[in-house]
Every structure is written in C-alpha cells, then in structure tokens.
Amino acid sequence: MIWLIRRFGGLVGMVAVVAFFAINLPQTFLTLQNWLNISQQVSMLAVVAATMTVVMVMGDFDLSVGSMASLSGVVVATLFLQGWPIPAAVAAALAVGLIGGLFNGIVVSIVGILPFVATLATLTIFSGLAFLISDGRTIFGRDIPAAFGDFARGGPPIGAVEDRIIVLPNLVIVAAVVVLLIWVVLEQTSYGRRLYAIGGNSEAARLAGVAVRPLRLTAFAFTGVGSALAGLMYASRVASANPTQGDGLMLTAIAAVFLGMTLTRDGQPRVLATLAGVLVLGVLDNGLTQMRVDSYVREVLVGSIILAAVGLSALGRRGIAWR
C-alpha cells in the first residue's frame, strides 16, 4: 500500500489535480488555448528548473538562479539602451550567465564551499550587480526594441479556431528545446551519467575515475546559462527589465524539481519528471485563478500541495526502510 503511494502517488495526485480542474472548469480548462497558455506561463520556470535539475542530480543546489535571471534581464535591457543590436545584447547576457555559472562552479568545486552557502552568496552578488547596472530602476518602454518584446508574443501558427489564429508560442519552443537538450545531456551522454554517479556516491565515483571537480564545475554553467536565458525570456515577455523580476524563479524551480523527484522510481531528479513538476505548479496557478481562488489562498494551497506530495513520498521511502 505504502509502496503504491510511493511509486504512483505523485502520478495519481497529478491526474487528480487535472481531473479536478477539468470537472470544475468544463468549458475552459481542457482547451488547446488554455494548455498553450499554461505552457507559455511556465516556460521560464521550465528552463530554470531543467537546468536546476543538472546540479540537483549531483546532490547540489543553485540558489542564485533567480537573481541571475534578473541580472541577465537588466544586462540585456541596459545594452539595448546603449544601442546594441538584439543578437549581440542577447549573446552578452547569456555570456554573463555562463560566467556567473562557472564562477558558482569554481566556488563550489575548487574552493570547496557548500553549494548552499556559496550560491546564497552569489545570489546576493548577482542581485547587487543587477541593481548596480540598472540603478535600481525598471527599464522599459521605447528603450526595449519592439522586436525583442514581440518575440514572447509571437510564434508559428499551428491552426485556427473560429477565425482566430492559434500560435505555438516562441517561449514554449525555447523551453522545449532546453528541456530536450538537458534530457539528452543527463540521460544520453556519459557526461550526464557521471553527474548521476556523483550524486549517488561522490567518493565512490571519484575512485572509479570520475573527474568529480571539473564535472561539478561545468554543471553549474548549465544553471548559469539556463537562468540567464530564463531572464531573457522574462524580459521579452514583459518587454522590460528590473533588478528583481526573476527572483521568484529560484524557490519555484527547486520546488518543481522536488515535486518531480516524487514521481521517479528511485527518487532521483530527472528532467522529464521536473517538467511534470513545473506543469503541476503551472496548472495549479492557472486552474485556481480561473476558479477565482484568492491569490493568497492560492499560495497557501500550492505550498500545502508541495508539502503533501514530498511528504507522502518521504513516508513511502521510510516505509521501504522498515521492511
């Protein structure tokens, strides 16, 4: 019984959530447009959570992803102010993410500071830089090239419903590409399997010839670039940038990975499970908003659901240990 909860509890819970909304929102919830909305709404979170999975596979954390997202948004907007063309500004912001991620990696793997402490410190550093660069202001309006903001609103058309053209949002495509890429890296390459080995037993992995330090270092580059990309997606969606706009992504991304871990057989972080966790969070926000649940009550409910899912899974695991 406990085993069943552990193995399929998360899945059953997810189906129950979807079914609940489908019943309560019969007209709107299970429509293509709504699911495109949800997938677009969670696209930034999906990118951050997918890359967060890469470090969590090793048993590490990156708390700096939110402020890195803010920083990259501010960087791109500031470069627009200075008249940089879009591709160059975007590349520069991604480079900032890469550098920040590698810096995290160096601090964690070479200097040897606990990831929790190290990335808490870089969180503050990145956030400070974002304020410094933007002067604490929101950069928006004419300063942001129209094409940059339009990217998040557009996408290739995939059909029409009642003379309205339905598009597959560009942000969804970006997120899908990132998730696919991370899936390939983690599941299909020797690099990814070595990261899992580090998470399984770092000392055993080292003695078995896994170059633990360089791997840990580079893995943090994924979260750096991933969060910078998410920051760009965010900036495009709101056609503006301010030094705190990505901050909320960090906790939600970690929550999504944990939710995903309750779905996998061995309790490991896996990127497709993370994606499921991201979708659950997005569905909850979308469905509860449509059901006109107060936004603060919504937060309490979402937090409780995360607690229940992870708690049940932990209980299930302990049940195994009792045997």
Binding site: G141, S240, T244, R292, D294, S295
Partner: protein, 303 residues
C-alpha cells in the same frame, strides 16, 4: 483581503461555489502591498459591491510576468472585464489576449495604451498648473523661484514642463535654479543639500521668493534647509505635489511649506469601477484617459 473573501475562495476552490450570475471583474496588480494601490483597490471593490459585481483581486507579489499569466487565465475563465494597475507596456502580451477575446481592460493609474479601453488617473498637468499658479499668485508674480524636477520619470517630467510654462508667463518671475535631485534615498536628503547651496549663493533676504517642487520629498528637503539656515522668517513659499503624510503635517503646522495636491485614490478606484460599468453597458469611450479631480491641500484643510 478579508476572511470572508478568503473563505469564499476556499469554498469555490472545492467546487461548492454557485456559478456567478453577476458581472465578473478581475483586478490584477503586482503592487497590492503598496499603500496607494490598496486605496485604489479598496475604492474599486467598494463601488463594485454597490453595483453587485463579483470582484476577484489578484496580487502577483511584484511579478509582472505573472500579471500576464493571470490576465490570460481570467480571459480563459471568461471574466466580463479586467482592471490592471501596472504599466500596460509591460503586460502587452496579456492585453493582446484580452483584446482578442473582446474583454475590456481598464487601467487604474496604469498609463495609456491602445489596448487599454480607458486609464483612470489624476491629471498631472492640472496638478502642476495648480501648484505653480498658487506660487505665482502668492508671490504676486514677482521674485526668484527654485524648481525641483525629475525629468527621467515621465509622469513627473510632465509636471515640470507645466510649471516651466506657468512661470515663463510671468515676466517678473525668475527661475533661479532647476534642480534634479538624486532620488536614490527618497530625495529629501539631496534636495536639502542642494537647497542649502542655493541659500548660500543667494544670501540676501528676499532673493528667493518661492520653491516649487514636482513632488513632496524635495519640498520637505528645501523646508529643512530653509529652517536650518534660519531663513524661515523671509516668507519663502514652498509647494509640493502628492500631499503625503509628512507634507500634510508640515503644511498643517503653518510654516513655509504652504501647499500640496492630494490625489483622490479612493475616487480613482470608484471611477475605474464606474468606467467598467459604462463599458459593460456598451458605451464607446471617446476619451481614453479619465481624470479624477484632485484637491489642493493648504493649512486650511491639511488637518
């Protein structure tokens, strides 16, 4: 949020809520925690209750992208109207969704945008004109005036332009200085420092007739500088805009700080509700910016 609305939320979440027959309006803001926004929203919900509407207030706690997401969600839900309190330029994607679905969006002090049916706000031009004219009249159209402005922020920049025009129209008024204070700490401290420098540069009593500030903080800074320099007996007239609590207290005490302008936040909220009602009634709004009257605050009404 009251306990009642919270409970209503839970009840509807577990699927017991009766389907709403009344008009369904969503108010979406990232800034509910800020005092001004709370006044707007309270005014709006009070009026909406009188009209018998169902209002769903959604706070995204500073997350602007989430405002877009929630606009998309309430569009899917099929609300009758949406009210926002955020720069429309930042939530264009959401506004487009609402426009595609034919759902009207009204802004509460949100800024103008083709996708916003109407923006309800205070008239910044009028507020600046009123205080500038107050200054001109108090000094009988004659003397040196110090201006505190802030052009980087568009709503404040507008006020400066109007004051420029008013003072230019009085041949005997000379603008001694037009200062843009550093606002990183709120603007009081730097305004005070700048004012102290001007006072030193113009030592003769009567050489400065008035200080016009585009908002209250520089006015308060200037007041501190004048009092500290012991020149509060010269009759220098100070005005601000916004009538925040400190400004009101200064005005009420009857010193140099004589006037400011109070925006009617509650009125903006109520008028936004009335505007929604007009739109729902099928009215085409010709005027896309609706101004709510402001009130000049002097020692007579500062309390």
């Amino acid at each position: 949020m009251t306990l009642r609305t919270a409970l209503a939320g839970v009840v509807s979440a577990i699927g017991l809520g009766a389907p709403a027959l009344a008009q369904d309006v969503a108010v979406i803001t990232p800034y509910l925690a800020q005092p001004g926004t709370q006044f707007y929203v309270d005014g709006f919900t009070a009026r909406a209750e009188e009209l018998g509407w169902d209002v769903n207030v959604i706070d995204t706690a500073g997350d602007v992208a989430a405002v877009i997401s929630r606009i998309e969600d309430v569009v899917t839900q099929g609300v009758d109207a949406i009210v926002i309190n955020v720069d429309p330029a930042q939530v264009g994607a959401g506004l487009q969704t609402a426009a595609d679905a034919g759902i009207p969006v009204v802004g509460m002090d949100a800024g103008s945008d083709p996708l916003v049916a109407a923006n309800v706000t205070s008239n910044g031009y009028a507020m600046a004109a009123e205080t500038a004219v107050y200054v001109a009249n108090r000094i009988d159209g004659e003397g040196g005036v110090v201006m505190f402005t802030f052009d980087p922020f568009p709503p404040v920049q507008v006020r400066g332009v109007i004051a420029d025009a008013v003072f230019a129209n009085f041949p005997d008024i000379e603008v001694i200085d037009r200062i843009t204070p550093d606002v990183s700490d709120g603007g009081i401290a730097d305004s005070r420092a700048q004012m102290e420098a001007i006072l030193s540069a113009n030592p003769e009593p009567g050489s400065i007739a008035a200080v016009w500030a585009a908002w209250d903080q520089p006015a308060l800074g200037a007041l501190q500088a004048i009092e500290a320099a012991g020149r509060d007996g010269e009759g220098i007239v100070i005005t601000g805009i916004d009538a925040n609590p400190e400004a009101r207290a200064a005005i009420a005490s009857g010193g140099n700080f004589e006037a400011s302008i109070a925006q009617d936040f509650d009125g903006i909220g109520r008028t936004a509700a009335d505007t929604v009602a007009r739109l729902l009634g099928g009215e085409e709004l010709v005027q896309r910016v609706i101004y709510v009257p402001t009130e000049l605050v002097t020692s007579a009404n500062a309390e």
